[in-house]
């Protein structure tokens, strides 16, 4: 195996591991508002998240930015709760700010926070050779996120089907029910994490 492939595998496994529940739930919250025909929008959002993630990871790992781990650990669930609240509050995306196209921007900003999460770890381990591990790790994370996104689309389709069977309402109402159910569920879990990790 080449070294690059090793680091891509490391990033991919890190994201697709069931223990990476904070990351997986964040992706589920980001994806919760999209229908199958909106797949391009969800790709943009997830890729923006990776870009943000890569930027901080690069800054923090190279020592250009030093972030206290405890604050980052607390901010990660806060970004998840914020995403869920945005899902719940913004009902009409066409009329929202920039026609609802601001989501990649906030996904990118939240990516900045998440990237700081393991920067200290990578910097310590790969102290003398950080460029290739960093690049491969981020590439693996992006690939892993695409897999998680595809699985999330499957889960959301099942939730939609369950709501469609349980109600006689038309399609738009089913989407709203799904957004409420998924966002509330994820927000509740992330809020508990935030309370547990609060540095204050």
């Amino acid at each position: 195996m080449s070294e690059l492939a090793a680091y891509v595998t490391l990033g991919f496994r890190h994201i697709t591991d069931l223990e990476a529940m904070d990351h997986i739930l964040f992706l589920l919250a980001l994806a919760a508002i999209y229908r199958p025909r909106d797949w391009r929008d969800s790709l943009w959002v997830v890729t923006a998240f990776t870009v943000g993630h890569s930027v901080t990871l690069a800054l923090a790992v190279t020592g250009a930015l030093v972030l206290p781990t405890r604050v980052i650990e607390f901010l990660i669930p806060i970004t998840i709760v914020a995403t869920c609240l945005e899902n719940l509050v913004v009902r009409d995306r066409q009329r929202a700010l920039w026609g609802g196209r601001y989501r990649p921007v906030f996904a990118g900003v939240f990516g900045l926070v998440h990237g700081a999460g393991f920067a200290n770890y990578l910097r310590s381990l790969f102290v003398d050779q950080i460029a290739l591990p960093l690049f491969g790790f981020n590439l693996g994370i992006e690939l892993g996120q695409l897999v998680v996104l595809a699985l999330a689309a499957g889960v959301l389709a099942v939730v939609d089907r369950a709501f469609a069977l349980a109600t006689v309402r038309p399609g738009g109402a089913v989407l709203r029910l799904r957004v409420i159910a998924v966002s509330s569920f994820v927000a509740l879990i992330a809020a508990r994490w935030a309370m547990e990790r609060s540095p204050f």
Binding site: A5, L10, H23, L25, L125
Partner: protein
Amino acid sequence: MRALVPLFMALAAHPLHTTLTQLAYRDADRSVEVTIRVFADDFRAVLARDVTDSAAAAYLRSTLTLTDRSGRPLAVVWCGMKRTGDLLWLCLRAPAPQGMRGLRVRVALLFDRYDDQINIVQAILEGRRVALLFTRGDASKPLDAPRRSG
């Protein structure tokens, strides 16, 4: 729903569990030098005692194997450790008169502690950098240069 919350709480922590092992060939005495980077807190936890040279060497003997082309284990000797920040650097050395190509390696450090542990091995073989990854349950793997296409 309420029953699920504790489950997610348990899974919330999301650290990386990795070690980095580097193999370098020493022409002077035709031996392989193995340097293992492991986080000190992980290592102390897995030893369940203070990290002394003898405890570290014994743990490595049970979790790191090097065999030659015919499957014979190399005679590995401990060559010390140092600490920089959170990281421990552990050293092993083994005679390998035929060079590193074809050696088989297995690095099972911390598999007894973390389900998601991934151990990375790096080496330079005939001028090319190669890497191996080990996860729980992996057998030993041969040290070969990657194919040109890969």
